[in-house]
Symmetry: C2
Subunit: 276 residues, 2 copies
């Protein structure tokens, strides 16, 4: 049996295993083979299945007694005895990018000691293209390849970089976001939310907004802790602390802002009620 303090090391090893198994599939027809419907409600592709199995193999190898919450497999009991907690997994976030060969996709693994987002204690996200590792443990800060990171402190409106997910967004939500698109000179959407949140946590974007209510808790659990530990604000669309049950069907909206001033700016520009 593994003690919980080993968790980040195990997760990094699991991500590395995903990276080595997935790299040969990126951009191939084979990666796109369908394996039926996953627990998260999308079709499971071979690349997702291979990646998820790679993580499960490592978790089993180390005997981590946990309940796995995964995008494809759903809820799986991996414990032989008493479960030590929940492992929340999106083995490939940015599957479409990986299927196409657009170099922006990642593996996201989080550990929580109870069944809710705020109970996440460890989070690891690996950029599967570069191999860069983002990690955080509650109360110990956030790291990029082992170096401490912090969200952007400097406020420079002229060079504002706004991450924004508008893929398949409801027209009513576009009305809310329209003033930001018009105002900000630099809108970004790379196509892998967990990795985009990590880039935000590293101080490379001023905010990241996804109010589509489509993001799964499996996509966001690890990045949630990384953002928090990097000093970022991460709240729901109605200005509350982000909270949701750890389940492969849980969906949410969020606004991540580097500081209070950026958050106020978003609220003022859009009219959203984001006062905390």
């Amino acid at each position: 049996m593994t003690v919980v303090t080993d968790v980040p090391r195990i997760f990094i090893e699991a991500c590395s295993s995903v990276r080595s198994q997935v790299s040969r599939l990126v951009g191939t027809e084979e990666a796109n083979e369908s394996y039926g419907m996953g627990a998260g409600g999308d079709v499971t592709r071979k690349i997702d299945m291979v990646a998820e199995r790679a993580v499960m193999d490592i978790l089993k190898q180390y005997g981590l007694n946990c309940t796995l919450i995964a995008e494809e497999a759903g809820k799986v009991n991996l414990s032989n005895g008493k479960s030590e907690g929940f492992v929340v997994l999106d083995a490939v976030d940015g599957t479409t990018n990986a299927l196409r060969g657009i170099p922006f996709y990642c593996c996201s693994i989080a550990f929580a000691d109870s069944n809710k987002l705020s109970a996440v204690k460890h989070g690891v996200v690996m950029d599967l293209f570069t191999g860069d590792v983002y990690s955080a443990s509650k109360g110990n800060g956030a790291f990029f390849n082992g170096a401490k990171i912090h969200v952007k402190e400097k406020y420079d409106e002229s060079r504002y970089v706004v991450g924004m997910n508008v893929s398949g967004v409801n027209p009513a939500k576009i009305e809310i976001l329209k003033p930001i698109m018009s105002k900000a000179n630099h809108i970004r959407h790379m196509g892998a939310n967990a990795l985009e949140l990590c880039i935000f946590a590293r101080g490379l974007m001023d905010c990241f907004i996804d109010i589509r209510n489509k993001i799964r808790v499996t996509d966001i659990a690890a990045a949630y802790l990384i953002v928090k530990e990097a000093g970022g604000i991460l709240i729901s669309e109605d200005g509350r602390e982000l909270e949701v049950e750890l389940d492969s069907n849980s969906r949410l909206s969020f606004i991540a802002a580097a500081n209070k001033r950026v958050l106020d700016d978003i609220a003022q520009t859009t009219g959203m009620k984001l006062k905390m």
Copy 2:
């Protein structure tokens, strides 16, 4: 004096020189130092200046008799005798990404034998993060690291990847784009148009739309030829062939579509008159 057929090789060498000189500046404060207003109307940053000079040094070294049209320096006569044509340069496309450290920015260099976009005969774009090279010469096809590329042929609406630049877009244009944002499950904007068009030319995106009328000809000249030679459709917002004078102040809008079916789809969804 250099003969024009050497041009692609010289351009690749110029891009490599940019890459080696720029890499140490990426994500630093130093890169952001202001050097006044560039010819294209934006503040020139140190990173842009260093990159542009690196290209000019290589062009001079090979004695390429040309008129340079560059984002920062504007129009510069580099010929000792008779000018052999125009070199259209954006030494760093995606400056904001490079300044922040977001790994998506490129160097774009084109050669034209007369003063208009359709006269572009050679184009090279280097991904300055990965070092990957996109290139094309008129009538000889487009290449990615030396391998022939083609725009996406397969039509799969459920996995449609739509590149779309909405940075600082006029609200009226958002109204036009809104139905696509709602319909497409995969919207992307990485933040370096030239490189995004190359990724499109490689078949990784189905279309790329920028109707803000903000793109400079320096941003697009090389990618224009790469897209055309990869079999892509590249037209103006009103459905005409893309054409513009080679000048650092020329601005344009464009729609790039992998095939006629994708173009019809964009026209139908948005109501834009894109019949060619």
